[in-house]
C-alpha cells in the first residue's frame, strides 16, 4: 500500500494510505484523546472529543480524528485554540450529565474522563449543569454493577457486547437526551442472557460499569482466626497485575504477587495453574474416552465460565458437547476442600477459598449448582485482578519493591502447560501435549499452530493413527460463527477450545483496564500472552502429567483420571437456559 504525506502541526510525516487522522497524529508523536473510539471495537465517531482541525485544500474545519481518513497533503492541527476550546466545551457538556462522584469512584485515578478534565484544565465542572436523568443502579447480575448516572454514552460496552461477543443484552434505548444504555424493557442484567464476561467493564472509560467488589469480605475472612483462608491465582493474573502498579504491559509479576498475597495475610498462597494441570488430566482423558467410545464430538472445553453460560443460553442443544470437567478454579477449590482439607485435617467448612481471576464470570461460576464437592461451595470468593490490585494498594504494600517469592506446596506446584491456560490456544496446547503423550508416548511441547491472537484458529494433528481436527476460538461472536458451522455440518472438528474473551483470559473482563489511548495502539492480548508463553518455556516441566503434585493427588486421592471419585469432585453438569 502506498503512503500519504500529511502535515501534523506543521511537521510532515508519511503515513500508510487508509490511516485515520488519529493514527497519523500518533505516527507524528501526538496523541489525540478519544472517549467513544476504541480500535476495532467501537468506531462510531460519537463523543466528538477527538475533534481536530484539518485542511484538505478548502480551509480548516473540525473533523472527528478517530474515523476521518487522511488524504494526501492534508494539514492537521491537533491542538489549535479552536480544537482545545471545542474539546473543553464537549467535556463540560459531558460533565453536566455525569455524576461527578470522583472521590468515591472505583475508577478515580484511572478514569479516562477524569484524565481529560485534568489535561484540558476544566475550571468549572458545573458550568453547563441542568436537568439530568436519574437512574437506579443495576446490581441484579452476579458479577457487576451498572450505574447509568456515570455513563457518558460512549457505547463501547454496547459495541463489545453486541459485536465482539455477539450477545447484545445491552444497547442504547430511547433517543436524544433521554438515551440510556440498558437492557430490553429495563430488565436487570441478571434477568437477561448476559454471560458475565465483563468485557463491558474492561472497555468502560469511566466508573459506570464495575465488578462487584468482595475485597472487604475477604479481608474479614482473613481476620477471622477460625478460618483457614487459601488463595489461588489464575495464570493470566501474573501477566496483568503489574499494570495496576504502573509496570509496563507484559510484565511477569508472579513472584511479587505471591509475596503480596502472603503479606495480605492469606494462610496459603496457591496457584490455579495446579488446577489447570489437573483439568488437563481429566479433560485429555475425557477426550480420549469420547473418541474411543463414540461419545459426543466435537468436545468443547469448559474452562471459561462466560463461554459455558453462553453455550447454555444460545446453544442449549450443544451442552452435551461441553467437557464435563469443572474449570481449573473449581477443580482447585474442590480439591482444596476435599483432598487438601483431609490431608491437613481441616474441616472444609472452615476453609475460605479465595481465587484471584482475570475474569468476572468466575463470580457467577462460584454460585453455580453442582460446584460444591465437599458440601460447601468449592470457591467462596472470586476476586478480579483489579480487586487484588486495590487490596494491595489499600494495605500499603509497596508492590514493585517486593521480593519474588514462591507459591506454597503442594497446590502451588505446576507445569508450563498450566500457565499457558491464560491465553487463547493454551488449553488446547496443554491438552494435546498430554493426549499425545498418553496415546503415543511422544513428548511434544510446542504447537505453534494454536498460538496467537487470531479469533479463530484451526489445525489438524496426527496423533497415532488418528487425524485430530481442532479449532481454537476466542470471543463469543467467533464462537457463534464456529458453532453454527458445526451445527450445519460444515465443520468436523474433534476438539474445540473456546474462551469467552478475545485473546483468552489475559484479556479477561477482570483484568486491569487500559485506556483507549493505549489499546488503540498496543495489542494488550499479545503483550500479556507473551508473559505466559515465556514462563512456559522457562519451566522445567511443561506437561501436566509430569507435575509431581498432580501425580501425588491421583495416587493419594483420586486414583486415576476419570475415576468415580474424580467424577464426583472434579466434574459437573450443565443446564439449558433461555435467551432474554
Amino acid at each position: 500500500m502506498e503512503n500519504l504525506t500529511v502535515k501534523v502541526n506543521g511537521v510532515e510525516v508519511s503515513v500508510p494510505a487508509g490511516s485515520t487522522v488519529l493514527e497519523a497524529a500518533h505516527i507524528a508523536g501526538v496523541e489525540i484523546p478519544t472517549l467513544c473510539y476504541m480500535k476495532e471495537i467501537n468506531e462510531i465517531g460519537a463523543c466528538r472529543i477527538c475533534i481536530t482541525e484539518v485542511n484538505e485544500g478548502r480551509g480548516f474545519r473540525l473533523v472527528a480524528a478517530c474515523v476521518y481518513p487522511c488524504s494526501n497533503n492534508m494539514e492537521i492541527l491537533t491542538s489549535s485554540p479552536k480544537v482545545i476550546e471545542s474539546r473543553k466545551r464537549t467535556l463540560e457538556l459531558i460533565l453536566s450529565t455525569h455524576d461527578r462522584k470522583c472521590l468515591s469512584c472505583v475508577r478515580s485515578g484511572n478514569c479516562e474522563l477524569q484524565k481529560l478534565c485534568k489535561d484540558y484544565g476544566i475550571e468549572d465542572a458545573s458550568v453547563y449543569d441542568g436537568a439530568t436523568n436519574k437512574y437506579e443502579i443495576d446490581d441484579s447480575a452476579a458479577h457487576m454493577y451498572r450505574d447509568n448516572n456515570k455513563c457518558i454514552l460512549c457505547r463501547r460496552c454496547v459495541a463489545v457486547c453486541s459485536k465482539t461477543q455477539g450477545i447484545g443484552v445491552i444497547g442504547a434505548n430511547e433517543r436524544g437526551f433521554k438515551t440510556f444504555i440498558g437492557s430490553a424493557f429495563d430488565m436487570g442484567l441478571g434477568e437477561t442472557s448476559c454471560v458475565s464476561c465483563g468485557q463491558c467493564i474492561a472497555v468502560c472509560p469511566v466508573g459506570a460499569i464495575s465488578e462487584k467488589d468482595y475485597t472487604k469480605d475477604v479481608l474479614a475472612a482473613i481476620a477471622d482466626p477460625a478460618k483457614t483462608v487459601l488463595v489461588q491465582t489464575a495464570p493470566a493474573v501474573r501477566a496483568g497485575l503489574g499494570e495496576c502498579f504502573g509496570l509496563p504491559i507484559g510484565t511477569n509479576v508472579e513472584g511479587k504477587m505471591a509475596a503480596a498475597l502472603r503479606r495480605l495475610g492469606f494462610d496459603k498462597v496457591f496457584d490455579t495453574d495446579f488446577g489447570a494441570d489437573l483439568t488437563i488430566m481429566e479433560e485429555a482423558n475425557e477426550f480420549i474416552e469420547r473418541v474411543k467410545n463414540g461419545g459426543v464430538l466435537p468436545m468443547i472445553t469448559s474452562c471459561s465460565p462466560g463461554w459455558v453460560k453462553f453455550c447454555e443460553h444460545y446453544f442449549p442443544d450443544m451442552t452435551e458437547n461441553l467437557s464435563s470437567c469443572k474449570s481449573p478454579q473449581q477443580m482447585f477449590g474442590a480439591t482444596a476442600k476435599t483432598y487438601y482439607a483431609e490431608k491437613m485435617g481441616i474441616d472444609p467448612k472452615d476453609i475460605v477459598m479465595v481465587s484471584i481471576m482475570p475474569c468476572t464470570a468466575k463470580k457467577f461460576e462460584i454460585g453455580r449448582d453442582d460446584q460444591s464437592a465437599a458440601g460447601v461451595p468449592d470457591v467462596d470468593y472470586a476476586l478480579t485482578t483489579r480487586e487484588l490490585g486495590r487490596m494491595i494498594e489499600r494495605a500499603g504494600i509497596n508492590f514493585n519493591a517486593l521480593p519474588d517469592e514462591k507459591f506454597d506446596d503442594p497446590l502451588g506446584i505446576s507445569t508450563g502447560a498450566g500457565v499457558i491456560f491464560g491465553a487463547t490456544g493454551g488449553v488446547m496446547e496443554a491438552a494435546l501435549r498430554t493426549a499425545i503423550h498418553t496415546l503415543t508416548g511422544e513428548t511434544v511441547t510446542d504447537l505453534p499452530e494454536v498460538r496467537g491472537t487470531a479469533g479463530i484458529k484451526e489445525a489438524c494433528y496426527k496423533v497415532g493413527d488418528m487425524d485430530v481436527k481442532v479449532a481454537v476460538v476466542s470471543g463469543l461472536a467467533n464462537a457463534r460463527e464456529v458453532l453454527e458451522k458445526v451445527q450445519k455440518g460444515e465443520a468436523d472438528y474433534h476438539f474445540i477450545e473456546i474462551m469467552a474473551c478475545p485473546g483468552g483470559c489475559v484479556n479477561g473482563g477482570g483484568q486491569p483496564q487500559q485506556p483507549a489511548s493505549v489499546r488503540n495502539f498496543v495489542d494488550i492480548r499479545a503483550e500479556r500472552a507473551k508473559v505466559l508463553y515465556d514462563l512456559d518455556k522457562s519451566m522445567p516441566l511443561r506437561q501436566s502429567h509430569e507435575n509431581p503434585a498432580i501425580k501425588a493427588v491421583y495416587e493419594e486421592f483420586f486414583g486415576e483420571p476419570g475415576s468415580h471419585k474424580a467424577h464426583e469432585v472434579l466434574h459437573t453438569t450443565y443446564v439449558k437456559r433461555s435467551v432474554n
Binding site: I94, A131, A172
Partner: protein
Amino acid sequence: MKTLEELKVVRESMEGEVALRTNGNASSKYERHVLVCGGTGCTSSGSPKIIEKLEAELAEKGLTDKIQIVKTGCFGLCERGPIMIVYPEGSFYSRVNIDEIHRIVDEHLIGGNPVKEFLYDETVEGDTIKSLDDTSFYKKQHRVALRNCGVIDPENINEYIGRDGYKALGKVLTSMTPEEVIQTILDSGLRGRGGGGFPTGMKWKLARNIVPNADMKYVCCNADEGDPGAFMDRSVLEGDPHVVLEAMTIAGYAIGAKQGYIYVRAEYPIAVERLNIAIKQARETGMLGQNIFGTDFSFDIDLRLGAGAFVCGEETALMTSIEGNRGEPRPRPPFPAEKGLFQKPTILNNVETYANIPQIILNGADWFASMGTEKSKGTKVFALGGKIKNTGLVEVPMGTTLREVIEEIGGGIPNGKKFKAAQTGGPSGGCIPAEHFDIPIDYDNLIGIGSMMGSGGLIVMDEDNCMVDIAKFFLEFTVDESCGKCTPCRIGTKRMYEILDKITKGQGTLEDIDKLEELCYHIKANSLCGLGQTAPNPVLSTLRYFRDEYIAHVVDKKCPAGVCKDLLSFEIVKDNCIGCGMCAKQCPASAISRTDYVAPGKKLAAMEIDKTKCVKCGACIASCKFKAIIKK
C-alpha cells in the same frame, strides 16, 4: 409494454383527456371533467364526501358517461379547500360545501353556467370570471415539479402517460448512455431539493464511478419529509407518484443500480397508498421490473415506512433506518456514493429533486438551466404556512423574492397585522426579517442571511409571534428529535433549550445570552450530522435579527409580542370598565373582583384583577367587549 410504440399508443389515447384540463380545447370522451382535490389538506376538509355526493348526483341524473369525476392531488391553495375545478371552463370552486353540489350540478354541469357565488372570489370580477392563472396566487407560479399535481388522477398510470409520463425513461433507456444521462443532469444545474443543495448530477456521477464493479447499488428516495410545516413532498407523492418512480428508474440506469427504496413517512397514509398503487401499476405495465422497454435494464422499487424520527431525513440515518436499526447517523466519509445502504454505493435524492428529472431529460438541460439564478437553477416548491392569507403550496422560479412569495402569491398577512419574520428551512433554518424581503430566494442567498432553503417550508410570523418563543419551539423540537448519539447535539441542544426556557420565564441574564451563543457555535461546528450542525440556526438567526426581543425578556422582563405568559400581566383599565362583570364570570381562577371605583360616566363600579391569582389564560380579554382589559 415493451416498446416505445406501445407507450405512444397509450399516450395518444390519453392526451386529449388530460389536455382538456390544461388548455380547455381537446377531444375528450367527456363533456366535462370535474377535478376534486384528494390531497391531505382537502381530504381533511371533506373532499371525499364531496366526491360521494357528486357521484350520487351524476348517477341520479344519468350523467356518468358525460361527466368525468377525477380525484387529483393537491392544487396548492389549501387555504381554500376543499377545492373543485370544472373543465373545460376551468371554474375554480373553493371551500366547497356539500350542500352546494346540487346547484353546481344543475346550473353548471347541466346548465353550463358556473355558479359564481361558489367560485373562488379572486376569480370573479364583476360579471367576468378570470382564469385561475390570472389570480395572484397562481400568476407568478411556474410548475415543473408540480406540473401534474391537480391535473391527473394519481391512481391512473395512463393519465400520467398521457402527460408524457415514462417518455423520459423510454428515451433514456433506448437512446442515451448512463454517462449522457448524468451529463444532462450535471448540465442542468439541478441541486438537491431536500435542503443541502448538493449538485444532483455530481452525486450520480460519484455513485456511478467511485466503486468499480460494485456487485450491488441502490437508489433511494427521501420522502421522510420531517420539517414541521413542510408538505411539498407529500403533495408530489399524492398528486404525481409515478414521476418519482420514473425518475428513480432513470437514476438506477444512470448509476447502475437494480433496486430502489422509497423511505416515506408513515404519517402520510394517502401518499403511501398512492405509491403502492403506482408501484403495482408500473410493475404491471412493465415500467418497473425485468427488461424495461425490452432492454437489458431491470429495476424495482420497494417502499419503506419511516416511524417517526426527524433525524431519518439525514441521509446516513435514513439508510441506517432502512437497514432495520435505530436511525442514527454515521460519520462521513465514507459517503453513501461509496458505502451507503447495506454498505453498497447508494444515491439518495428527495422527492422534489426526482420530480424534476423526467422534465430535464425531455426538455434538455438548457431548458432547465434557463430558469432560476446563476447558481440555483430551476424552480422551488414552498409550503406557505403560518400567518399568511393563502396557505398552500407554491412553485416559483429560483430567484423569486420573498416579497413576491409572501405578499403577492401568499396574499400578505391576515387581520391587518404586521409582518415580523419568515421562517425557512424548518428546525435547520432561520428567521428572515422584513429587511431581507427583496432578496432573491436561492440556496446561497438564504445561507448568507443565516437561514437555509431546507426542503421548502416557509412559515410567516407576524407581530404577535415572539421570536424567543419561536426559537424555543424549534429547540424543543430538536431536543425531541436528536438521536442522542453525539455529545454536542444530545446534551448541547438540551442546555440551549433550558436557557431559552429560562429567558422566556423572565429568569434569564445577559450572561445566559452569551452562553447560548457560545453553545450555538459549538454545536454547529462539533456535531456529527446535519441535524446537530444546523440545530442552532433558529437561535442564531433570531439572535442576529431580533436580539432586542431577547434583551427585552432578559433586562426588562417583558415579552414584546405578549406571548411568554410568565412575563405578562393582565390589567383592567378602570376608566374603560363599565362594571358588567362578564370577565369575573369567565375567570377560571376567580381572580377578578369588583372595586369601589365608579368610572366617570359609568353606572357600576369597575372590576380589578388580583395578579397573585391570575393564571394569564386570557379568558377575560376575550370576554370583554369594551377593551377594558389589557395584557402587557
